[in-house]
């Protein structure tokens, strides 16, 4: 298994930090992509951060009331070693089924 750390992303509008309001997941939870992870509050608004990926949450950073800077670790996921990147899926390496048979008289000259 591999770990993937998800840092607090750039929330736009020049914001450099956010305060944790409430976690919506706990370590050990399996989350789907886009499932809400955490409620955050910035100096401009409150927001709910969706998960960037599917996986098992193994660590969360910041208790309610804690401030986290953009770029600092927010949550760490555990994913299988053969998990695809942000784009695409891991191809299966199964044995292909053939429909074509070869037929040839090989003149070994």
């Amino acid at each position: 298994m591999a770990e993937i750390s998800f840092p607090l992303p750039d929330l736009g509008e020049g914001l450099i930090e956010a305060t944790v309001l409430d976690w919506l997941v706990s370590p050990g939870d399996h989350v789907e992509r886009n499932q809400p992870l955490v409620e955050l509050e910035t100096s401009k608004s409150a927001l709910e951060l969706p998960s960037p990926q599917a996986g098992k949450v193994i660590r969360i950073h910041g208790a309610p009331g804690d401030t986290i800077n953009v770029g600092e670790p927010l949550v760490v996921f555990e994913v299988p070693d053969n998990t695809a990147g942000i784009v695409g899926t891991v191809p299966k390496d199964d044995v292909p089924k053939r429909r074509v048979r070869l037929s040839a008289v090989l003149d070994e000259d």
């Binding site: 309001l21 809400p36 409620e39 955050l40 100096s43 409150a46 927001l47 709910e48 969706p50």
Partner: protein
Amino acid sequence: MSGRHAEQHIHTVEGTDPHIFVEIHEPAAGTDAGLRPILLLHGFSSSSKLNWGDTGWITALQAAGRRVITVDLPGHGRSASPEDLDSYSPSRIRADLLQIVADAGARPLRDGDPSSGLDIIGYSLGSRLAWEFGATQPELVHRLVLGGPNKEDPLASFDLAAAQHYLADGMPIEDESTAGLLKMAQLLPSNDLFALLSLIEAIKGEPYDPAEAVPHMPMLLVAGDKDERAVTMPELASIASHAGGMVEQLLVPGRNHSNAITSRVFKDAALAFLGV
């Protein structure tokens, strides 16, 4: 999703198109609950994106099988900032909203038809508009959820002259509430400040009086227990219940006016209250 409230032909109210930005969010695939649409009304100096999108409301409602209508109020979000003051008056906004929800497919309540009618969730200024809309459209509105609600509109006591002086030459604003609201409006670069001041001016012309027109449909009032802008929520509740309506109140622990909106407690309560 669609852009303006009518793509093919624009249904204008009072002859002019206020260019209000509307989006329809269909239920998540395979979850359609068959219930009436929900109109979301955001607060002052916010937008549908900030108040309902980024906070997870739209996806939560869609996941529950609900069809959602969002609008950006005049001068907010992706809506236009009309020149004329009249476009910002609460009565004009309510008229535009009525046209928008009709165009979006909301139909008057019919007994035994759970897809008829309209539910509304408002926040702050959006709760005021929802209250008045519910009071004036009893044949359409099924239930109301009012977040961060207040008996008096804080915008009504906004010191417009002081704000304009401040914006013109930086003269400090004495009134704390006015200074706070202006600071909030200035925080978001996307806000059109002069349009927001027009909205305030129009609101001062039609101050909020919840007792004047009281909605009779069931309503849920929700506020953070640290929300200083919603301390009069119990009074609002008693106005509604004295008028014969069914009223529920919910305090979200540890939350204030700006951060109660994302709360799961709030969302779960609203979903349960509107899921009938």
